[in-house]
């Protein structure tokens, strides 16, 4: 057993740290405030092969371990959770879906530009009436000659307004139940597909989220991803990958909360001493550091299992559950440590706390993760 990153992994993490410090940290407050997608940052991320780390080189990626992708999402999220998340869902779900299920033609046509970072991927599953209960979805895809015709409304689509390549899930045979949903790759500009205006969210504000409306949207048969009816299984496998990414995003948020708390607690003087000397504060920081380590081990382990091509659904759910809840718990503490200053706009901990909340909700709520985990251990 070796608890050690390789030299490459360490160097790549360091490079991402430098990248984030230089290009992301300075604008993180602004893009949060303005709910702006920082296209200029994504262009740079593409140049550094950060948008397709675990995708093979022949499909436009960097051909690296999934763990390296996870390290990159973590470091990026330490500066800006929105930017980290956008990379995570693009790579972990959109790119991975095509890599694992696509035909050679689909990989060349859709995966390659996504992995190079020229195109941004989106995952279109959730509907107004179908959140955790995926089976309650109503969007349909009906075969009509050489094309499927999609109708329905999706919501909370991350990268909805800014995406280029959409992974859209719809019923091809509702009666077949779990074997009746299919996934389609739909490029931006396809007639009948439109993105709504993006939602103003509590946190994760620079990540663009919207409704997606499908009205007689004709999608060529060639754009069916995997087999007809395999959609749900593919989505669940996509979630396994994505959840490790959300765990990494949570690690980044938590690490930032710890960094800020340590710094502030040492600097802030009350009653003649830095507040770090108060046990009430130092213990909060001790717990924060401990749970961060625990979350990190869970996350890297899940990622390591993925790289070893082992089953990692349960571990991905555990990592996501623990890391996201730890991030929420401790960003609240971080604000508490900062007192009134932490409650004001411009304090990083205030943004961290708002950003942390979503990690307990998307790509499966904490409750959904517990369902996955209990389903696994009670089997």
């Amino acid at each position: 057993m070796e608890f050690k990153l390789t030299e490459e992994q360490e160097l790549i993490r360091k490079n991402m740290r430098e990248f984030a410090d230089k290009y992301v940290e300075p604008i993180a407050g602004e893009i949060d405030e303005n709910s702006r997608h920082p296209a200029e940052v994504f262009k740079r991320l593409a140049e550094g092969d950060w948008m397709g780390i675990p995708i093979p080189v022949e499909y436009g990626g960097a051909g690296a371990d999934y763990l390296i992708h996870i390290l990159a999402v973590e470091e990026l999220s330490r500066s800006c959770a929105s930017t980290g998340f956008t990379v995570s869902i693009h790579v972990g779900i959109a790119c991975m879906l095509v890599l694992l299920n696509g035909t050679e033609e689909q990989k060349q046509q859709y995966l390659l530009p996504m992995a190079k970072g020229d195109k941004l991927g989106a995952f279109v599953l959730t509907e107004p009436g179908a959140g955790t209960d995926v089976m309650a979805a109503t969007t349909t895809a009906v075969l009509d000659g050489d094309a499927y015709v999609l109708n329905g409304t999706k919501t909370f689509t991350s990268n909805g307004p800014t995406g280029d390549t959409y992974m859209v899930f719809a019923w091809t045979d509702k009666a077949a139940g779990r074997k009746g949903m299919s996934c389609f790759i739909i490029p931006k500009g396809t007639a009948g597909m439109s993105a709504g205006t993006h939602f103003q969210k509590m946190g994760l504000r620079s990540s663009q989220t919207s409704e997606m409306v499908f009205k007689d949207c004709r999608v060529p048969k060639a754009n069916l991803l995997g087999k007809e009816g395999a959609g749900l299984v593919m989505a669940m496998a996509g979630f396994d990958h994505g959840r490790v990414g959300i765990a990494a995003q949570s690690l980044g948020i938590l690490q930032a909360a710890l960094d800020e708390s340590i710094r502030y607690a040492k600097e802030r003087v009350q009653f003649g001493n830095p507040i770090a000397r108060n046990q009430a504060i130092s213990w909060m920081i001790a717990d924060m550091a401990t749970e961060l380590s625990a979350a990190r081990f869970l996350t890297y382990h899940a990622s390591w299992l993925k790289d070893q091509q082992r089953v990692f659904s349960k571990e991905a759910a555990m990592a996501k559950l623990y890391a996201s809840e730890a991030a929420m718990r401790h960003t609240i503490k971080a604000v508490q440590i900062h007192g009134g200053y932490g409650y004001c706009k411009g304090a990083k901990v205030e943004r961290l706390m708002r950003d942390a909340k979503i990690t307990e909700i998307y790509e499966g709520t904490s409750e959904a993760q517990r369902m996955v985990i209990s389903g696994n251990v009670l089997r």
């Binding site: 300075p26 407050g29 710094r263 502030y264 600097e267 802030r268 003087v269 200053y341 706009k345 411009g346 304090a347 990083k348």
Partner: protein, 318 residues
């Protein structure tokens, strides 16, 4: 032959080195030799400043660089075998010193900020290491002991016009493969605040918008840029947001930061954590900025600023 040698490309720096050289030479009763360019009354001033022997470097051709003298001085030093050789740490001086040290196969303490002779005769020199985090104390076991000394580390040696000394001139060195083809003097254009070597920061303690001109004047004088705290940019709009220093603004890491009327809120102080030397002027003795500062003047800006500008003019010769 024992002795303390100094070499500086400018007269003012030669006089500063003579302060140290004179002290060291008197401890062992040896002579001080100053190697200086042959310009004006340089030789006389160095003698008045404590040099016993002046070695004049004849003016070089326009296209020749100071480095042309390296082989000549190396030969001189090999012949005379001085104990100590101090060189003014200008860019050219540091380059000169390192190459000379290589030729003399001896040690060189770069950017030496203090030096003294121990009881056993060892010269102990101090320099900063790890970006200013640490002070490294070094000694040198080969001859001569060499050090480069940053400008203004020591006060210039006072003039004693009654002193006398020998003056000799060195023959011009042969030309070198490196030719100087142009010399441009500085033009002061405005810089990015995060790149500036000096930042003058305006805080809420500035009473009027026009007072910012005082900060600009100070910045001009020391070759720096003007920044501000959040209230100045966000509430008063006296300066643009991109000049706002702090947690949610820019982080600056200049060598010198001077806060004028800056109270020192933690959010602001966060933005100047990496500054080498933090100074503050504030009338409130209990302002938190003084806890974050290295040097602070307690006083009213209107009273302090004219005095500060005047003293800085004197010090920098502008």
């Amino acid at each position: 032959m024992p002795g303390v040698w100094i070499f500086a490309e400018r007269n003012d720096l030669a006089l500063e080195l003579l302060t140290v050289a004179g002290g060291l030479a008197s401890q062992t009763g040896v002579k001080v030799t100053a190697i200086v360019p042959d310009q004006g009354d340089q030789a006389d001033r160095c003698i008045a400043g404590g040099a016993d022997e002046i070695v004049l470097l004849s003016p070089l051709g326009e296209d020749m660089s100071l480095a042309a003298w390296i082989p000549v001085i190396a030969a001189e030093a090999k012949g005379a075998d001085p104990d100590i050789l101090l060189i003014a740490a200008t860019a050219r001086g540091k380059d000169f010193a390192a190459r000379l040290a290589a030729r003399l196969d001896t040690g060189l303490c770069s950017n030496c900020t203090a030096l003294h002779r121990e009881g056993d005769g060892t010269i102990v020199m101090e320099r900063l290491a790890y970006g200013g985090t640490a002070v490294d104390r070094v000694s040198c076991s080969t001859r001569p002991v060499m050090a480069t000394i940053p400008p203004r580390t020591f006060a210039p040696a006072p003039a004693d016009t009654g002193r006398s000394g020998e003056i000799r001139k060195l023959p011009l060195p042969p030309s070198t493969p490196v030719r100087v083809i142009a010399r441009k003097t500085k033009d002061r254009s405005s810089q990015d605040i995060t790149e500036a070597k000096t930042v003058i920061c305006v805080g809420r303690g500035m009473e009027k918008e026009e007072d910012i001109n005082i900060a600009r004047q100070l910045a001009e004088l020391v070759g720096g840029e003007v920044g501000c705290t959040r209230p100045i940019s966000e509430e008063l709009h006296w300066l643009p947001d991109d000049l706002c220093i702090g947690l949610s603004g820019v982080q600056v890491k200049p060598d010198l930061y001077v806060g004028l009327g800056v109270s020192g809120q933690i959010q602001h102080v966060t933005g100047i954590r990496g500054v080498r030397v933090i100074c503050a002027v504030n009338k409130d003795e209990n302002a938190p900025i003084f806890q974050a500062a290295d040097l602070g003047i307690i006083g009213d800006l209107r009273e302090v600023m004219p005095r500060l500008i005047e003293e800085l003019k004197k010090a920098t010769g502008r």
